[in-house]
């Protein structure tokens, strides 16, 4: 039996699998997270049930099927859902990419399609340590905990990066799994696995609100007021909370020293270099 204990924020997770075919997919996913010997709050199991494979958490059946890829896809979805619920109130999850810059966390907070994954990828390829491409976990101490799930986007090809560029330098490796959708069509999921991961929390230093625009200058960035950013950030929280609570929590958690920028860009690599080379952030 394959067994893995890891931690995301303050939540311990255990995953057990007795299916070699599932383990082969789950292992690279789980390897990204921080090892932990702490007691688990969430215990996922992949085990035989009748003539099928059963995915469960804390003995609650989440999914049953015959395809290892399908089970792995179900595991990913439920892992994220369960974690987000369990992380509150210790951690608030912002829909944001996050990398390490100058010993601090640098967030790209945006809606889907605004370019946060492109910026995160550009940063990782440039040598920045990876924290997340989707879930930035903001603790009550103003630090961001890693949630280093695999980088992924809907299509096999990334609009900004070729596969050869992404694999060069050894900052990313790729994993691929396939599973049938509800109509029996094969869905292929491509995961990009960062090799340089930050495993400890970092103080939140920079928040960038990016917007990819095809016709924008390659990179145009300007500082914005804390208040302007805080009026926008609640919409990027994963949690459904009363609006005044979201604002208050963000205002109390985000350090007074955090700097905020708005960014329009058409080239993720140049945009990342603009952020990286901000005078105050160079170490």
């Amino acid at each position: 039996m394959w067994h893995r204990n890891f931690r995301v924020g303050n939540v311990g997770v255990t995953v057990d699998s007795t299916f070699t075919s599932c383990t082969a997919i789950l292992e690279p996913l789980c390897r990204l997270y921080t090892d932990s010997a702490d007691p688990s709050l969430l215990h996922f199991r992949v085990e035989p049930h009748d003539d099928r494979i059963r995915l469960s958490v804390d003995n609650e059946t989440l999914w049953q099927g015959t395809d290892a890829g399908e089970i792995a896809a179900g595991f990913e979805v439920h892992l994220y859902q369960r974690l987000l619920a369990a992380l509150l109130p210790d951690c608030l999850s912002l829909h944001a990419g996050c990398v390490e810059l100058g010993g601090q966390a640098c967030l790209f907070a945006a809606a889907s399609g605004a370019g946060k994954s492109s910026l995160t990828t550009a940063a990782v390829l440039d040598g920045a340590n990876y924290l997340s491409d989707e879930f930035a976990l903001l603790g009550s101490d103003g630090r961001i905990s890693p949630f280093p799930r695999p980088l992924q986007w809907g299509k096999l090809r990334h609009p900004a990066f070729r596969h050869t560029q992404m694999l060069a330098g050894g900052r990313l490796s790729k994993a691929l799994f396939r599973f049938p959708d509800r109509y029996g069509r094969t869905v292929t999921t491509l995961l990009w696995l960062p090799t340089m991961i930050r495993h400890a929390p970092l103080p939140l230093g920079i928040v960038v609100l990016p917007q990819y625009m095809r016709r924008a200058p390659t990179s145009e960035m300007a500082p914005i007021r804390r208040g302007e950013a805080l009026m926008e950030l609640p919409r990027h929280l994963h949690h459904r909370l009363p609006p005044e609570i979201m604002l208050q929590e963000l205002n109390r958690r985000i350090p007074a020293t955090t700097r905020f920028y708005r960014l329009q860009f058409s080239d993720a690599r140049i945009a990342w270099r603009t952020i990286r080379d901000l005078p105050e952030t160079t170490t």
Binding site: R226, L230, E244, L247, A256
Partner: protein, 104 residues
């Protein structure tokens, strides 16, 4: 406050209540050291950014004070020019009324 042609009504058409009251669904969050307060309308989810003077005017709208009462409090605290503060207070209240932040 989100300025824009579509957001602004004709201020001359706006009636400021004689004794305005802050909309009860507004919850303020002060930006420490920034002279700024963000208000969330818990009914609509809308956000409003006010400078500290405008926020003070809004908080003084308790349904018992007139525009002149509010201006007088600010004059006494800031030691500012009375006529200017009265005019500014009235202008701020007109904007509040236009955005529905105060009621009769």
């Amino acid at each position: 406050m989100p300025w824009g042609p579509s957001a602004l009504k004709n201020l001359s058409d706006i009636q400021v209540p004689e004794r305005p009251r802050k909309k009860p669904e507004l919850v303020g969050e002060e930006m420490e050291g920034m002279d700024e307060v963000i208000y969330v309308d818990t009914e609509t989810g809308s956000n409003y950014s006010l400078n500290i003077i405008a926020a003070t005017v809004l908080e003084l709208c308790d349904g018992t004070r007139t525009s002149a009462d509010i201006a007088a409090i600010i004059v006494s605290n800031l030691n500012a020019d009375s006529e200017r503060v009265h005019n500014d207070t009235q202008a701020i209240l007109e904007e509040f009324a236009a955005y529905g932040l105060i009621r009769a």
